[in-house]
């Protein structure tokens, strides 16, 4: 009785080990059978998209009305941005109201006016566009 109680678990372990080995063989044997010769060659292609810079070197003048609630900015030139298809000049009033002048790529001069319901700092912004892409802004505060 005691002999049976010792040997039986050993037989079970042996059986399971055999089953495991058979499973591994039947799993990987087909893979080995399908092996074939192959060669490989690899090359990288690196692509980066444009980061549209802000226009630099803005020149011009501005004038305010006597109540300091309106400003007119005359831009005479700014640096061209490579590949720009146009520019957008905006003037934002202290009240938040905005005037906008779109320019073609060939034009870098314009006059823009914005009135406000209160005094404070106006903000002039110029940015280039490339198709549907918007560039970084060149920002200039104007205080009357």
């Amino acid at each position: 009785m005691s002999r049976h109680s010792i040997c039986r678990p050993l037989r079970v372990v042996r059986f399971l080990a055999g089953l495991l080995i058979c499973s591994v063989i039947f799993t990987f044997a087909p893979t080995v059978a399908q092996a074939s010769f192959a060669g490989r060659a690899t090359a990288p292609v690196t692509v980066s998209t444009y980061d549209i810079p802000a226009p630099a070197g803005v020149t011009g003048t501005y004038s305010c009305n006597s109540a300091r609630t309106s400003v007119t900015v005359t831009i005479t030139d700014f640096g061209a941005v490579a590949r720009a298809t146009g520019y957008t000049v905006t003037l934002t009033a202290p009240s938040g109201a905005v005037s906008s002048n779109p320019l073609p790529a060939s034009t870098r001069a314009t006059t823009i006016t914005r009135a406000s319901t209160r005094t404070g700092t106006f903000t002039l912004r110029i940015r280039a566009t490339v198709g549907s892409w918007l560039g970084d802004e060149q920002t200039t505060p104007i205080t009357c």
């Binding site: 010769f37 060669g39 690899t42 990288p44 292609v45 692509v47 980066s48 980061d51 198709g131």
Partner: protein, 214 residues
């Protein structure tokens, strides 16, 4: 004074008995086999057969040369831009190919490669004669002057796995194909595509021809 006689009997049911019986059987078998060996006529002959494995090897032109411009970086591209790069794919092994596939993987995860519609698109063409290169790095362009252009990968998103390259000349050992890889950024790519960089690995895999009787 009487001595007690000790007798030991080999019991075949015991372990030692079984071991002894096994040793005895092996001894008898070895002896008979040895005698048999000495008692027979023998004759031997030999022959040798040399088997050499073939090689399947695909190679691209030297990186940076006119035979492989793939590694020339394209920078500052915008929607609508096209990037053309030529590369020569050669069968430098001693076996014909059974097939050649192209798999492409990206090193970064961004819209350039994850957006199947608005991200980078690729086309692969072959020219029956070497491509005529124009332009200066990195803005190369290629035309098939005096040859025939065949599209082997129609325009599709740049990332793909196991794309078959059919009709290649390099299926035959010692031959080469003049490939032109054209990458485009669609005009539909919006402002979110600005200032992105990605590197796409072009992996050409050639597999052996089918086995034959040799």
């Amino acid at each position: 004074m009487a001595r007690t006689a000790r007798t030991s009997r080999i019991n075949m049911k015991s372990t030692s008995g079984k071991v002894l019986a096994s040793v005895a059987l092996l001894g008898v078998a070895a002896s008979v086999a040895g005698l048999g060996t000495y008692g027979s006529f023998t004759s031997t002959t030999s022959a040798s057969e040399t088997v050499t494995a073939g090689s399947v090897k695909v190679e691209l032109g030297a990186a940076g040369s006119a035979a492989n411009r793939l590694n020339v970086t394209a920078a500052n591209i915008v929607p609508g831009d096209t990037i053309q790069r030529a590369v020569t794919l050669s069968n430098t092994g001693n076996q014909n190919f059974g097939g050649v596939t192209l798999s492409t993987t990206a090193t970064a995860v961004n819209l350039l490669t994850t957006d199947a519609l608005n991200g980078l698109q690729v086309t692969v063409d072959t020219c029956s004669v070497p491509w005529t290169e124009a332009g200066t790095a990195p803005a190369y362009t290629y035309t098939c002057v005096g040859g025939t252009t065949t599209t082997v990968v129609p325009t599709r998103q740049i990332i793909g796995a196991n794309l078959p390259l059919n009709g290649l000349t390099s299926m035959t050992t010692g031959k080469a194909d003049n490939l032109r890889v054209t990458t485009t950024l669609p005009v539909s790519a919006d402002n979110n595509f600005q200032n992105l960089t990605n590197t796409v690995s072009f992996d050409f895999l050639a597999t052996q021809r089918a086995g034959t009787s040799r």
